[in-house]
Symmetry: C2
Subunit: 437 residues, 2 copies
Amino acid sequence: MKESIKLGIFGLGTVGKGVVEQLRKNGALISQRLGKELQITKAVTANPTKDRGIDLSDIQISSDPKDILDDPEIDIVLELIGGVTDAKSIVLEALQKGKSVVTANKALLAECTEEIFNMAYQSKGLFGFEASVAGCIPVIREIKSSYSGEKIEEISGIINGTANYILTSMIEDKADFQVALKAAQDKGYAEADPAFDIEGTDTAHKLIILMDLAFNGLFDLKELYVEGITKITPLDIEIAEQFGYTIKLLGKAVNTDKGFEGRVHPTLVKTSNMLASVRGAFNAVAIKGNFMGPTLSYGAGAGAYPTASAVMGDVIEISRNLLQEAGQLVPPLASMRDQLSKKKILPMSEVTTEYYLRFSVLDEVGVMSKITTLLGENDIGIRSMLQKGEAHSPKDPIHVVIFTHKAIEKNILKALAKIDSLQFVAEPTNLIRIDTE
Amino acid sequence: MKESIKLGIFGLGTVGKGVVEQLRKNGALISQRLGKELQITKAVTANPTKDRGIDLSDIQISSDPKDILDDPEIDIVLELIGGVTDAKSIVLEALQKGKSVVTANKALLAECTEEIFNMAYQSKGLFGFEASVAGCIPVIREIKSSYSGEKIEEISGIINGTANYILTSMIEDKADFQVALKAAQDKGYAEADPAFDIEGTDTAHKLIILMDLAFNGLFDLKELYVEGITKITPLDIEIAEQFGYTIKLLGKAVNTDKGFEGRVHPTLVKTSNMLASVRGAFNAVAIKGNFMGPTLSYGAGAGAYPTASAVMGDVIEISRNLLQEAGQLVPPLASMRDQLSKKKILPMSEVTTEYYLRFSVLDEVGVMSKITTLLGENDIGIRSMLQKGEAHSPKDPIHVVIFTHKAIEKNILKALAKIDSLQFVAEPTNLIRIDTE
């Protein structure tokens, strides 16, 4: 049996440094659980001489990937550089060379799913990617192991901490979107270019990974419906609250009779739903199975230490395996390779759910009748309704909010296209989907 | 490689039947993930001819344990009979004979920890017990695998569905304890003899298992402090709510500088804490680690299907392992055998926390002064205070509620012993500990 497990890290940014620190601090505890020592022997980074504020003296640092990839002593390669191009060649080459790989890179897995996982299956390598979705929440291990006896029916995740942080400030500080975004940027919760987070792209990356795992499929990221949180206003939040809802950016996947729904959009969630209690930069993933019923897992979805923790969990699992030369026990994408097939996502127009519709209209006679007639003609039932605000002049719009019964999205869009072209409509209608759980 | 994995089930009660049904319904899906078929070939039960309302025609049923234990074809033994005596001999014998074992039996694991786990280590057998704590919540796999890089600092669990169901009805229906208990019994959420659940025993069993796993130790169940929910009144619930708290029966373990706290008692939990949102018969376990920070996992803590689901997760994990003859990769109690040691639980008198104290006193001059003086003399600081109710006659007690700052339990008990012996005290003071998270 090996005397220790040797790790080579690509990237000494936030997460890479977190892994080094965790091993320094918890190394003794980890050895009690593993029986052997974990050692980070090498790191590769673009700038090897940079002072990173932590002790790296026993790690050989270079800028040449070969130093890790060609070193037969390195057992596990940690890909923590992010981005797609370089990360892809590192992961593929490491697996091909028979090394085990751990990555936190959701963009890579979502954009190059087939290439990466084909190699993971082919090479029979040990491949950990728990840190790629929802930080320290062990959702990937849950689906691959704990819930492996389940038909998974539904996944709803708050899996982008930045978006949830912004929405939480909008709710708790009654701030509007731009103010909340600015505050999140000032506090380091949002990037200078926040598009990835607030437009839903990052949530989409993570959702597609979960769908592949949960539904024994290979789904196409481009087929996901993705809508960000930029159009949410304090008024929507206030009205939602009044009706017992909170607004969250959800990644949602549903295994329906018609096909697989896969969608990322702001969603009205009942305040009694556990997801509504997830505040600030935290993440949570709710998974429903046909035997276990509803579950939820909650924790820090990002940050140096929580992400490092997920990486370390994978490293220890793989190390236990390597020490006993056990081989690949759990298929990389949860199912046997020959059982994985390309699967389609239901077009958004075919999704059936409930809707929150906020119409901005002039306060004229006949407005309500026209709106409700057009909804009725498109098979859209009204569950509740609210008129908000008073017009001080005939040109001031008022807000009419309608909560619909379940309706099919294409009918909603047809009705809204007609309604929004009417003369008394001051602004395009704000549509937010409702979580029917 | 084996062509299938054969299971022998002890017990065809609620959970046993659930496992059979899950395999019938999800068998095809499970085979896609496992690559081979799972088959339940035999069952042993006290009453083999009883009609159980499900199709058992392809399972050979008998009342003789040897039919399973001596069958070399059986790969995994499922111990689902509950109780301690018979279950113990089944588990020990199966492991000794080189079989893998899955159990849902928390009483067995908590009361016979050393015997069972000594055998699990010695035999190098595969031993799954995810279903023993918190039903389908994969908390055992979390601690053993996902959080294996963490120093676990704290565990707080709502791990008894019956107690949580009763407390939830007391809160939501403003029912008092006996009424809520009766309703829970009528609906099948509480047993005819509910002592195990409402006195905290079941929570204690589960907590001790989690402590062994989280703290690399063997703890003694008898050292746990255990207090049930029978003394909680609607008045306590109402006052707690007024101050932003919900009352939950928590199993709590804390790794402190002074030693390991381990305690089960009703607890005031802040309504903003995720644990406060856990309603009805659901369970949740919050775990805090030094790198990942706070996490929480939520789901059905009992019931045929959710428990079966946890059993099935273990069965599939073990099967994957058996198919590749990988051996015992993860130590049964998370740490290597030689790293496990007997550990002490801090006596309750040494625990430091905040307290809710409800005094029932006659409305006399000087009462408040005496109470507050005695608290002060025992180093107990007052955080907030409330006087509730008006005496209609001098003999009617009124309620004085004090929320303390952090204090050491022995001081609290010393002060209460003195206060409760004072003449103006009408009833013993109701003490509820506060979760300081």
